[in-house]
């Protein structure tokens, strides 16, 4: 009699994430979505002020080669109490740089649960879903959810002329994918 071959345990797929805080609230973002982490101070020289009507969460823009990166204040985006903002995540494949208070830690999630359908407003754009880590539930942000195409159109219209936007000279921390 032949015994059935033992089942190989299925490897659990995990995704590296960065836990970060905005105004005391914990969020997660996929590490693969973060191209660069910089201190807000290091940007003060390269950022240009911008004012788009009705879009208070963006106050500054950065010139990157031939494109502009809009610095989104995380607290204003999520409707949280104002916070100083110490770090900036430059989000890959977007025109968003996210101003946050600090990084909690890097970890891995093994399960991302879709946002329950009861949540039916802007948060469906904000979050990819929720994950449970150490008996805590953390929303996992969607990098594309910080600025809609309408927001980008408003911001582009409010951009100062190209020659005003100077080249940045400050260094950031490039994250490996």
């Amino acid at each position: 009699m032949r015994l059935a071959a033992p089942l190989k345990p299925t490897p659990v797929r995990s995704e590296q994430i960065i836990l970060f805080r905005v105004s005391g609230q914990l969020f997660a973002v996929s590490s693969a979505s973060v191209q660069e982490v910089r201190s807000a101070d290091s940007l003060s020289g390269g950022a240009i002020e911008i004012t788009a009507p009705g879009l208070r969460k963006v106050r500054h823009v950065l010139r990157r080669g031939d494109r502009s990166l809009f610095i989104v204040n995380g607290a204003a985006h999520f409707g949280l109490p104002p916070s100083p903002g110490v770090l900036v995540f430059v989000l890959r494949k977007t025109r968003t740089a996210l101003l946050i208070d600090g990084i909690e830690k890097m970890t891995a999630m093994t399960r991302l649960q879709a946002l329950p359908l009861s949540f039916c407003h802007e948060e469906r754009q904000w979050y990819r879903g929720l994950t449970a880590l150490d008996q805590t539930v953390v929303p996992v942000v969607r990098p594309e959810g910080f600025l809609s195409s309408e927001d980008l159109a408003l911001l582009d219209a409010a951009l100062p002329p190209m020659e005003i936007l100077g080249e940045e000279a400050v260094e950031g921390t490039e994250l490996q994918q």
């Binding site: 609230q25 969020f27 999520f78 409707g79 949280l80 649960q113 329950p116 359908l117 009861s118 949540f119 039916c120 407003h121 802007e122 948060e123 904000w126 929720l130 449970a132 008996q135 805590t136 539930v137 953390v138 929303p139």
Partner: protein, 159 residues
């Protein structure tokens, strides 16, 4: 009681919100659990307080007291976890309740045309007439946005 009448009885869970009692069809009830930590994060959906972790699932906590009794609950004893339909999909929602729940058999009377959408029918129990809740209309979901948009259009159309 005749056999016919017995067959028409359905099972309901009676829940208490403040001083009032409401009923939910027992087929929709998953379990009754003690309050646990509510995890809160930013969102814009009214009535949703946050989420709880239950049996490995992340369950939204939906406070339905305000539309039903006109005020938010200040004290709560339990969460009634029920199923909520979103078209073909079904998800759990946790409803905070202020008292013990009771399982009863009663005959369902259909809701009238003038009843609110969240009224799924009526039952008579211990001398009271009790609303049977239609959780699909009472708790938020994607159709709420459609209703809000329609309401907004109506308001804008008014002179």
């Amino acid at each position: 009681m005749t056999v016919l009448a017995e067959l028409e009885l359905q099972t309901f869970v009676l829940l208490r919100l403040g001083e009032r009692r409401f009923a939910v069809s027992s087929g929709q009830i998953v379990e009754l659990v003690a309050p646990s930590r509510v995890f809160r994060f930013p969102h814009h959906t009214p009535k949703i307080e946050g989420v709880i972790l239950r049996r490995g699932r992340i369950v939204p906590v939906c406070d339905v007291a305000e539309p039903l009794i006109g005020k938010r609950l200040t004290s709560r004893r339990l969460y009634l976890i029920a199923t909520r339909h979103y078209g073909a999909q079904t998800e759990w929602v946790a409803l905070p309740v202020t008292g013990e729940c009771e399982l009863i058999n009663a005959e369902l009377m259909a809701a009238g045309a003038s009843d609110e959408p969240h009224v799924g029918g009526w039952i008579s129990h211990a001398g009271d007439v009790i609303e049977v809740l239609n959780l699909d209309a009472l708790t938020p979901g994607p159709d709420e946005i459609v209703r809000e948009a329609a309401l907004q259009e109506t308001l804008e159309a008014q002179p």
